[in-house]
Amino acid sequence: MIGIQLLCISFACLALFFTFIAYKRKDFNGKEMLLWMMIWVVFLGIAIFPQAVSPYIQNMGFTRLMDFVVVIAFVVLFALLIHNYLVIKFLQKRIEKLVREEALKDLEK
């Protein structure tokens, strides 16, 4: 087992632990916990048995597993970026609406 595998395994275990903690603290509901658990278990599986996914990766035109992981990491990062941007915009709009409604209550007094 090479260093990078050990690093990925440790990271996946830590992520599984934090997912479980988030569920226990009720930050995640059952569905969210299951989704994140699945993601980290798959990640853990690939980290332990990288050769298991090699044939699929080669079919997609990647020569090394590492190249595939880097591409996926970028896709995930950009997806998260867009998601976070949209959530912030949505919250901004809700806060603005609330504050404006509160201000207009003075008018009714």
């Binding site: 504050v99 509160e102 201000a103 008018l107």
Partner: protein, 220 residues
């Protein structure tokens, strides 16, 4: 006589707001002061000065403050809405010049263009020129001061002007929307007094607005 309201968006303007409201009261039916989460006594001073004072518990920016003011004005049945900056740079004695063309000549919107003489800070003057050229080439908008904060409009054209832009960009979006929807607009020249060079739009805001004008060309 049409019912008029002056809307003043306020953010930490305790130094000037009292005088601005006192002076403006005699020219309009209602002065609506929207305090946008000021940390000073602007809200209390506005109330004391006789304005209908509304208060945002947090700072949302000029655009949101103007929207709150317009919502209040519409609820009061106002027919002419006037926006003016609350830092004393605009002169309340000019208010009748904004109201009369709407009442008597049937204009939908009056834009107060700053004269841009010696009194205007250098960067602001040339920044304004650049924005003006961009608006002209992209929208055939021939106004000299597209983002002037001193303007008046007929309340029933608000649905066409209803801006989406945040912060200081609302004024420019209103001007461009007025051109796009062929509203009957007029520009009048006004005097401005700059008390504080560090307030209002910065160079970065100006560049952002320039970019925004290009975007509006495709989305408005």
């Amino acid at each position: 006589m049409m019912k008029t309201a002056l809307i003043l968006p306020i953010y930490n303007e305790s130094k000037y707001i009292g005088n601005v409201i006192q002076e403006a009261k005699s020219y309009v039916d209602v002065v609506i002061a929207v305090d946008d989460g000021s940390q000073d006594a602007s809200y209390e001073i506005s109330k004391k000065a006789g304005a209908l004072a509304l208060h945002h518990t947090i700072n949302l920016g000029k655009s949101a403050a103007l929207k709150t003011g317009v919502t209040a004005a519409l609820k009061l049945g106002i027919e002419i809405i006037i926006f003016m900056d609350s830092d004393g740079q605009h002169l309340p004695k000019d208010l009748p010049r904004f109201i009369e063309p709407i009442e008597k000549e049937g204009y939908d919107m009056i834009i107060g263009a700053r004269k841009g003489g010696q009194k205007m800070p250098f960067l602001r003057k040339w920044g304004n020129k650049m924005l003006e050229w961009a608006a002209f080439f992209l929208f055939k908008c021939a106004f000299n001061d597209i983002q002037s904060g001193y303007r008046a409009f007929r309340a029933n054209v608000y649905p066409q002007l209803d801006w989406k832009a945040e912060s200081y960009y609302a004024d420019a979006e209103m001007t461009i929307r007025a051109v796009k929807y062929h509203l009957k607009c007029k520009q009048i020249f006004i005097d401005t007094i700059y008390y504080d060079d560090f307030k209002g739009m910065t160079v970065v805001d100006g560049l952002n607005l320039l970019f925004q004008i290009f975007i509006w060309r495709f989305i408005l």
